[in-house]
Symmetry: C2
Subunit: 239 residues, 2 copies
């Protein structure tokens, strides 16, 4: 690792979502000058929402300094726990203060919002969780379903759901290291996407499908609302 | 797991590439009626080409029956070792004979070709490895840089490089479970890709970038050629 290496840290927690961090990991790992580290509370395997597990390469106590702190999203149980865990939130605030860029993809936005790291910022999140993120009074929701949103002055970023992590990571590479670097990484990972179907967000999907998937996510949404209200209630009583 | 669950098995090996299996895993895991299992020689963590590690959920000796055998690609060291490892190749031939669909993404095609599983089939692979795959006399290369290629009669599939695994998995879901299932999974993972740059394959990238990346992959390409020649030499001496 040279002194100019840009280290991207992904905090992992039980119930985080695989492609949220794996997509961005792939882009950064194949960009010259970048390196990736997966970080968790312990070095035990971390189970994801896909019923698979991954290995952290470092813990909250021994990870290298981070240039970019990239928070993945997850299911409501995992995200809610990370929003309400004082140790996780304490590490997050401390580490974010030392990173150059801080941001999230998908429901990772709720974990950063709980830490106040999106206060006064615009942010986006998973398509069906947008209205829940609006419960945070200091977070301004970006309109629509963007793949990424960057606040270059505050050095904050956020992405849409799950697969957005690839586009978001490429945008960060382009912003930080330039267009040539982003194109190099894109060609390495052969990212010329061409989905065989076209229902990737509510602007593409049929209203019936959007309603059906939203209904199937009722407990996910309820879990996010409950955790968000609990965070806001604690803030209210502490103020 | 109901009796009608479609189990997708991803064989992992040291030096496989993360998004090759993580992208497809995400799609299948969020498709109702599908489940995913990561399989390896042992239950030890498997290091990928991104300098991260993942945990197999089963071994070659104890995995459940597979409906779909999905071989990820990797670097030339990992792919070459899997092409030339009699135990890996033996398991692969036996397991493929019992799976309904068998295929690969990226340089995983070389591992299947070494096992003869693409004999008499068309297949595609990572963009810069296409000419090497042509060394297999019984494999017919698909023209261009398709994201996926399915042989519905032989029940074989292959994908382009790395990120192609997402499009390929959606195409398999569409083919096996129907368009509604593919669209449901696509909306769950918010896969409405919109890259900020456009250099994802040699039809999009500048000739200068294609040459530069190809040159940086000289040892990767040489490794694939050497392993392929060794496989073909063994076949020749056995014939």
């Amino acid at each position: 690792m040279s002194s100019s290496t840009i280290t991207v840290g992904f905090p992992l927690y039980p119930g985080c979502t695989l492609l949220d961090f794996a997509g961005a990991t792939q882009v950064f790992a194949y960009t010259p000058g970048f390196e990736v580290v997966w970080i968790a509370a312990t070095r035990d395997p971390v189970p994801t929402t896909e019923s698979v597990s991954v290995m952290p390469g470092a813990t909250f106590d021994d990870h290298p300094p981070l240039s970019i702190l990239f928070m993945p999203g997850g299911g409501s149980d995992g995200v809610g726990a990370a929003m309400l865990d004082p140790a996780f939130q304490g590490w997050l605030k401390q580490t974010a203060a030392q990173a150059e860029w801080v941001g999230s993809v998908c429901t990772g936005a709720f974990i950063l919002a709980a830490a106040g790291l999106f206060d006064g910022c615009q942010a986006t999140t998973y398509w069906s969780a947008r209205s829940v993120l609006e419960l945070f009074p200091k977070v301004e929701l970006v309109p629509g379903y963007p793949r990424w949103h960057l606040d270059e002055e505050r050095k904050r970023f956020s992405g849409g759901g799950i697969s957005s992590s690839i586009d978001l990571a490429l945008k960060l590479v382009e912003t930080i290291a330039g267009r040539d670097a982003a194109q190099t990484s894109q060609l390495f990972v052969q990212y010329a996407p061409s989905p065989p179907v076209h229902a990737g967000d509510p602007t593409e999907a049929s209203p019936e499908l959007v309603i059906s998937v939203t209904q199937s996510q009722a407990s996910f949404t309820a879990g996010l609302i409950a955790a968000t209200r609990q965070v806001l209630a604690c803030e209210g009583s502490a103020a």
